[in-house]
Point group: C2
Chain length 338, copies 2
DNA sequence: TAGTATCACTTAACCGGATAATCGCAGTCA
DNA sequence: TGACTGCGATTATCCGGTTAAGTGATACTA
């Protein structure tokens, strides 16, 4: 591996000259530039990004942090995967790479050094749980951070998220317009902001339509744990007064509801309407094509990336949450009640 | 951001001492060590990975390179996603991060510098096409490279891949054992090694069972382009003598075959058996649960990562392809012919 | 003709750490 | 007392680049 000094020696110039050639300083004699460029190619020289990063404090790399890499849910999860795709695509546009970080939220001791060691120019944090202490630590340390979560506004960091309230409103309106009056909700973890948000949005939406809610029609389940949501759904559908319409906290939960309905012999959508949230890739192709609220994951990832680029370049960051509007995708799991 | 010099000054010691404290040199007075550690915590100091990387030439970061980030197929593709998950998990085990690289294969001019600038300690290249010139370039430059592709053996670089031949053999045997004698094949791009490999394995498998193949029952289609494979499948199934069993080059193609069969009113599996390759996540949950050859993607990614770690650490790399055995997963798309 | 720009490049300091070599200072031993 | 050892810390150099400041030569100016 030749260094810049090797190239300089071979050209009989100083390393500064080589550096200027590489970085396009235009006060050089064209002939010199050519000579150096030729040597560079000839020697197969490539400047070290690390050394370069050390001096100009730019690695042209963004970090992205998920929870729980160990488990199945992190990268494989369609939500994460969609976001990641948007982040990578938008990063490529500005010539940056993306590094994946994977510590657990709770391990601030382990995670923080990695996140703060300048290996990346900034970090996108995906859906941090409410109770992590990483966010304030990073912020106080001056790290460039953007989150994908509406909650982070409280820390004064820029963020992007889907407009959960709007999405839930779309869902409820859709069911209402199909004639439903008794709508149940089976949501994800309440300690995740989206969990809390979608729940409260659901109640607000019911209120705005003057619909009432039976307490037993409100279930808090899990976004990822399919077996948990399956049994929760089964319990809900086995009630003496089962709902005829269910808004699920996300598609995965919706799938569990559908599975429970199938196993209980409940016809979809004749006896039960189900609507999800996210529109993960499976949603269109599974047995019952799922009606859902489509979350534009790639756009969200891309928006977060652009926001991060702004923060890094010093443009005063808007410390508010950029809300991206979801859309209603009507497929085969919703219909009018009998 | 405090530097090591700031810490040293605050402790009235030299930077060397601080460095030794950080890196656990044991010839230090316990009292000194404590004092420095306390200051480090107090000042919220984190050593720069970049500076560190510059001196000890280790970034604790692996790179992973896919084709075509711009298009839908790269990260989102279940194959890539599965590999990535394995790579990230195995990297985390050895304390490394993963950086995603995304240039196109053809742009060696642009890609090479990024891949060779020491930002990563080594690179995992996923399914390079046969005609890229990046591999030999990297190799001749002394980069640490591992590929996921059986083809790369020709360049003398270590690699990992699924045992394509074995998988195809499993598929054909399964169909044969169900009583099929006329088996068609609709494969992916022939310029991808797996495309060529699965094709020749298919022919070999037929031979070993002394089965013959109608020329029109051999179709070369596309791994990713669903509309192309859909029309190719439709053409195949519309032949005067349509096959009663099809081995598809991958699951995506198999889905296209299923879609074409549905649109042509062909019953699955009564009139047509379909078997895929990969076992992507969708395979189990789509309308007809797909019988397929399951590729252990995460294990492959993890194996590649471990191989790369070996190469980096200097353990003489086995310049041969590590084959991981796939398994047959029987679901609902195969059955005996009428 | 001396003074001043301009040009084309070099010098030298710096980025933030790692580490081999060195050094001062007990304590040991002959 | 002088030589030798070990310990604990320091000094100095290096990693591979970037870049502000400086330099020597030529060209221009008054």
């Amino acid at each position: 591996m030749p260094t810049i000094r090797d190239v300089a020696k071979a050209c009989n110039v100083s390393t500064a000259t080589v550096s200027y050639v590489i970085n396009g300083k235009n006060t050089l004699l064209p002939e010199t530039r050519e000579r150096v460029l030729r040597k560079i190619r000839e020697m197969n020289y490539h400047p070290s990004a690390v050394a370069r990063g050390l001096s100009n404090k730019r690695m042209n790399t963004f970090g992205i942090l998920f929870d729980n890499v160990g488990s199945e849910i992190a990268i494989w999860h369609p939500y994460t995967s969609g976001i990641l795709q948007g982040v990578v695509a938008a990063s490529a546009e500005v010539g940056c790479n993306v590094t994946i970080f994977t510590e657990l939220w709770r391990n601030a001791e382990i995670s923080l050094p990695k996140l703060r060691d300048q290996r990346t120019d900034g970090i996108i944090i995906v859906a941090p749980p409410s109770d992590t202490d990483i966010l304030p630590s990073l912020l106080s340390a001056g790290s460039k951070v953007v989150t994908i979560s509406s909650e982070s506004v409280s820390f004064g960091m820029p963020s992007v998220d889907v407009d959960n309230a709007f999405g839930i409103k779309l869902a409820v309106r859709h069911l209402r317009e199909m004639g439903h009056r008794e709508i149940a909700f089976i949501g994800g973890q309440i300690n995740m902001f989206s969990g809390a948000m979608r729940l409260s949005a659901f109640q607000a939406a019911l209120d705005s339509w003057s619909l009432s809610l039976l307490p037993e029609h409100l279930v808090l389940s899990s976004y990822e744990d399919s077996s948990a949501s399956y049994s929760d759904a089964k319990r809900l559908l086995s009630l003496p007064n089962p709902p005829a319409a269910v808004v699920a906290g996300n598609d995965q939960i919706a799938f569990s509801v559908l599975a429970a309905a199938r196993d209980l012999g409940i016809a979809i959508p004749a006896q039960l309407s189900v609507i999800g949230f996210d529109d993960i890739a499976d949603a269109a192709t599974t047995q019952h094509a799922l009606t859902t609220i489509k979350q534009p994951l790639r756009e969200i990832g891309a928006a977060a990336t652009r926001l991060l680029a702004q923060v890094i370049s010093g443009d005063c960051p808007p410390a508010e949450c950029l809300l991206v509007e979801p859309t209603l995708v009507v497929r085969a799991t919703t219909g009018s009640p009998r």
